[in-house]
């Protein structure tokens, strides 16, 4: 008869191993699901109306929160940035500070996080509920591939909307920085824009920011559609899936941001 201590330890290890293998299995399943979605995206493009409808629900309806958040983030950047810069007599660099922070980092990342929590969770809940109310099964029964008809349009809508939202976030933020810096505080307007234009490069900064937001869009929407499709078809199952979407997407965005920033912006400093 084994005494309790090693037995408990063995059981915990077993449980840990089980969790690890099940997570890896799930990741593999998610990857296969992703590949299948991409392969069967023909319908999403041939009947583009389906995708347009999803762009409306994912992108257009997220506009308000993106624009307002962008404005506030830009304004705060303006305030905080001015406070720090004027200590070194460099308050004219405010334009550079606001624009580079937004275009390189805050635009793609914050817009991505907001998109994940608003549109990502909505997509997961919608697909999960369709699964729970047997609508997916009904579609399969009518010989219509639910992944081509339901999942793929939502995926591509997310990938298309995300960079647009990030760009609008950055633009709104720069405007907010301008409002606070130039109009409110009194930084020289000419210096604000000219220093910004001298330092922000279209290829290095803006384009890289757009690339980041496309990568985030792919990651977030993939997670959202997968969690919805894989949800347990009950109320708790759908709620768990939406929570997982938001958490996993947010972590993925932050991790990918680090990787992409290291690749794009350190100019070889990170060996």
């Amino acid at each position: 008869m084994a005494d309790p201590a090693p037995n408990g330890l063995v059981r915990s290890l077993e449980r840990l191993g089980n969790t690890a293998t099940s997570k890896i299995w799930r990741l593999g399943f998610a990857a296969r699901f992703f590949a299948y979605t991409l392969l069967h995206s023909g319908t999403a493009f041939r009947r583009f109306g389906l995708t347009i409808r999803e762009i409306y629900f994912a992108g257009v309806l997220s506009l308000i929160i993106i624009l307002v958040s962008g404005l506030f983030v830009g304004m705060v950047l303006g305030l905080q940035g001015y406070d720090t810069l004027q200590r070194y007599g460099s308050s004219e660099a405010l334009g550079i500070l606001v624009s580079l922070s937004l275009v390189r980092e805050l635009g793609p990342v914050v817009a991505g996080l907001l998109f994940a929590s608003r549109a990502g969770s909505a997509i997961t809940a919608e697909i999960g509920l369709m699964k729970a109310t047997e609508q997916i099964a009904a579609m399969e029964m009518m010989a219509v591939d639910p992944i081509a008809r339901v999942v793929a349009p939502r995926f591509w809508a997310g990938v298309i909307s995300m960079p647009l939202l990030a760009v609008l976030f950055s633009a709104m933020g720069i405007f907010g920085g301008y409002l606070v810096g130039v109009q409110l505080i009194g930084v020289d307007e000419g210096a604000f824009w000219s220093q910004m234009q001298a330092s922000v490069d279209v290829r290095e900064d803006i384009l890289n920011g757009v690339i980041k937001s496309i990568v985030f869009g792919i990651a977030v929407t993939w997670i959202a559609v997968f969690e919805g499709y894989d949800a347990v078809p009950t109320a708790e199952g759908v709620s768990g899936a939406t929570t997982r979407t938001v958490v996993t997407s947010s972590l993925a965005i932050l991790a990918l941001d680090f990787v992409l920033t290291a690749l794009m912006f350190t100019g070889g400093n990170v060996r």
Partner: protein, 270 residues
């Protein structure tokens, strides 16, 4: 004259894993043009049988032949093609909540045919007329009652005139009037469209009223079969308990538990 059965299950077994067998050597045969009931308690395996017939689950053993095709030998694309000749009514309708009633019924036509919209409108009107809901074409599923939703789902399922109709618990949760309507629709549509129908249910009265033949399932096995009249006269204990709705019989009232007196006495001493 013996016609080829539309559905034939020959000693089909199925289990989600080896430890929990759901169906055990089930054999049934469904004649074309008939309405057949598969009845039994909740969890006895009748819905699983329906899913095997629909090609969702692959039987572990035995031969399943549907519409002349051996299900075990079909790949995914062929199963999809086979489903075009089948229709299924889900327990709660499973209407697409983001489309109107019209769009729901027109769904299959739009996905699988290239019919022009005017012709589509006429066809949808005909299907809705058959279930008595032509006037509700522009409503959204959320504003329909349970019975109406199920009727729309029925119209949607027969949109492409399938040869085989599968009904998963069509009578659950309906008021008496809707019950009568659905039951009558199942029979009339079957006869007028030349279909074959399988009705999975545990509502004895409604089912017996419309079916030609019944299979009784208990714990994954077929325990009785026959026409409704034969079954009403049956002396089989299970059939008798089911048909009369007696609380105790071969299906016990009590869930297995230790002896009552011992349980009470034990609880007293803690």
């Amino acid at each position: 004259m013996a016609a080829t059965p539309i559905v034939e299950l020959d000693r089909v077994s199925f289990g989600y894993d080896a430890a929990r067998p759901v169906l055990h050597e089930v054999s049934l045969s469904i004649e074309p043009g008939s309405v057949v009931g598969i009845m039994g308690q909740s969890g006895c395996g009748k819905t699983t049988m329906l899913r095997i017939i629909a090609g969702w689950l692959k039987a572990g053993a035995g031969r399943s032949t549907v519409l002349g095709e051996d299900l075990a030998r079909l790949d995914d694309a062929q199963v999809f093609a086979l489903r075009r000749r089948m229709g299924m009514l889900f327990q709660f309708g499973a209407l697409f909540t983001d489309m109107t009633v019209f769009d729901n019924v027109a769904f299959q036509m739009r996905e699988h045919t290239t019919l022009p919209e005017e012709l589509l409108a006429d066809l949808v009107a005909m299907k809705l007329e058959a279930v008595g809901l032509r006037g509700a074409a522009q409503l959204m599923p959320s504003s329909l009652s349970g019975g109406m939703a199920r009727r729309v789902a029925l119209a949607r399922a027969i949109a492409l005139d399938p040869q085989l109709m599968l009904y998963d618990e069509p009578f659950t949760g309906l008021d008496p009037i809707s019950l009568g309507v659905i039951a009558r629709l199942i029979r009339t549509l079957n006869d007028s469209l030349g279909q074959t129908s399988i009705v999975v249910s545990h509502d004895v009265e409604e089912c017996f009223g419309i079916v030609d033949y019944v299979y009784f399932v208990s714990a994954g096995r077929i325990v009785a079969q026959g026409t409704p009249a034969e079954l009403r006269r049956s002396s089989d204990a299970f059939v008798h308990q089911f048909v009369s709705g007696a609380p105790d019989g071969p299906i016990p009232f009590h869930y297995p538990a230790p002896a009552y007196v011992a349980d009470l006495a034990g609880a007293g001493h803690g």
